[in-house]
Structure formats: structure tokens, C-alpha cells
Amino acid sequence: MLKRTIGMISLCCVLLLPVYGWGRDGGDNWRRLSPKDKENVQRNYQRWQNLPQQDKEHLRQEWDRFKSLPPDQRDKLRRRYNEQRQR
């Protein structure tokens, strides 16, 4: 009985490992950000929460469209965005 219980717990732990790893990924990515980026993300999040639902949906659509662009075009847009911000 004890053996079976320990076996089941071990099996559950093994099955939960990928979930845990998936959960940790977000934390890892967050820690890798610079303090400036972290501040920017948090500011954008606060701003996002205050947006009307319509704008939220629009931005989601824009984000999906941006992700679907070819990588070189995305890089080009990022470069243009950074250039315009520095002006």
C-alpha cells in the first residue's frame, strides 16, 4: 500500500514537472529583463488595464498581425520605431 502511494506520488511529480517548467519560463524571462525594460512592461501593463475593451482587442489584433510578419520586416519596424523615438 505504501509502495503504491509513493509510486503514485512520484508519477504525479514526474507528470507535473513539465507544467512547473512551463510556469517557470515566464519568471525566467522576466528576470532576464533589464530594470528599464521591467519598468516599461509594468507601465504598459497598467496602461493596458485602463484601456477600453475595444482598444484592447484592436491592440491584440495588431500584435497578432505584427507576429505574423516576416522576421526581417519586424526588425525593420523595430528599427524605425527606435529611430523615431530618439528624434
Binding site: G26, Q42, R47, N50
Partner: protein, 176 residues
């Protein structure tokens, strides 16, 4: 073949009886019967004569004192015991622990590996250290994090894509 060269051929039916006759191990009736036969059969007489000549020449086994056999027995037993002890001493050492050693060391190794991976990957945080309070919506996955990171850019996406490259105006500016 060699036997035929040494001993003359005796009557086949008397060969065994002749040997017993020589040693005196036969019955009285057989003894008399062989004696009668020997008077009539020259080859059998020659066979018995040869037995009388040859057998005493054969070396008698040397009589060894009982002490020799005692020592021999003790020495043989010692030789048999030493290799057995040599093979088994380490097995005997592990016998009491064998039942729990494998799972225990296995568990310890897995635990050490897990701790090593956690610390090595930089996920280890002392319990006293205050943790950042980040909304789970941001940490949900990489896509979410990138979305909030690039929100300014997304807001300006249409103008960035226009050929004249209108100046970036984030949505927050419009609201304020």
C-alpha cells in the same frame, strides 16, 4: 593388446576363475574345479604361472602414516575455504545494507541533481528575500511578456508601416 603380450591366453571361461584361484578368493568347489582344469590345460597353467611371477613385482602402495592423511585433509580444507572467504568478504559487508542502499543513494542522487539544477539555473531565492509582485497576466507566457514589452510599438504599428513614417504617438499620449 599389451595384456596378451604379457600373459598367455587362458581359456575364456576360466580367466576370472583363475585370477580368483590365484588370490584364493574363490569357493572351495570352484577351487577344486580349477585345480582339475589346470592339470589338463597347459595354457591355463601358464597363465597362473605368469600371474605368480608378475603380480608380486607390482609395486605395493606405500603405507602412509595417519598423520599424513590428517595434514592432507586439513590442508585441502584450508585451500577450499580461503578462496571462498576472499570472494565473499565484500559481499558480506554489503548484505545488511543492500536492501536500502540502492533506493537511498538513488534518492540522494536525484535530490542533489535537482538542487544543483535549481541553484545552477539561478532560480534559487533565499526565503527572506522579498519577491517582486508581478501580475500573472504578464508572466503567463513569453508571448504575453513580449506583448506588454512591445505595446508602444504595437500602438504605432500603422504609422510605422506607412511609407512616410509618421512620428510615433503611443496611445497613452492620445489619452492624456
Amino acid at each position: 593388446m599389451a595384456r596378451n603380450d604379457i600373459l598367455p591366453t587362458a581359456c575364456k571361461s576360466f580367466e576370472e576363475d583363475l585370477v580368483l584361484f590365484y588370490y584364493g578368493d574363490d569357493s572351495a568347489a570352484d577351487h577344486r574345479r580349477v585345480e582339475v582344469h589346470l592339470k589338463e590345460c597347459a595354457p591355463c597353467r601358464g597363465f597362473v604361472e605368469d600371474l605368480r611371477k608378475l603380480l608380486p613385482q607390482m609395486a605395493k602402495p606405500k603405507e602412509l602414516p595417519p598423520k599424513f592423511w590428517d595434514d592432507y585433509y586439513a590442508e585441502t580444507m584450508a585451500k577450499l575455504t580461503v578462496p571462498q572467504e576472499r570472494n565473499n568478504w565484500w559481499k558480506d559487508l554489503f548484505v545488511p545494507m543492500r536492501a536500502w542502499m540502492l533506493p537511498a543513494f538513488g534518492t540522494a542522487a536525484v535530490t542533489a541533481l535537482a538542487i544543483g539544477l535549481v541553484i545552477g539555473k539561478g532560480n534559487w531565492r533565499p526565503f527572506s528575500e522579498p519577491r517582486e509582485k508581478i501580475p500573472q497576466e504578464i508572466l503567463a507566457d513569453t508571448n504575453q511578456l513580449e506583448f506588454f514589452r512591445s505595446l508602444d510599438l504595437i500602438e504605432s504599428l500603422s504609422s510605422l508601416e506607412s511609407p512616410d513614417g509618421t512620428k510615433v504617438k503611443p496611445m497613452s499620449d492620445h489619452q492624456s
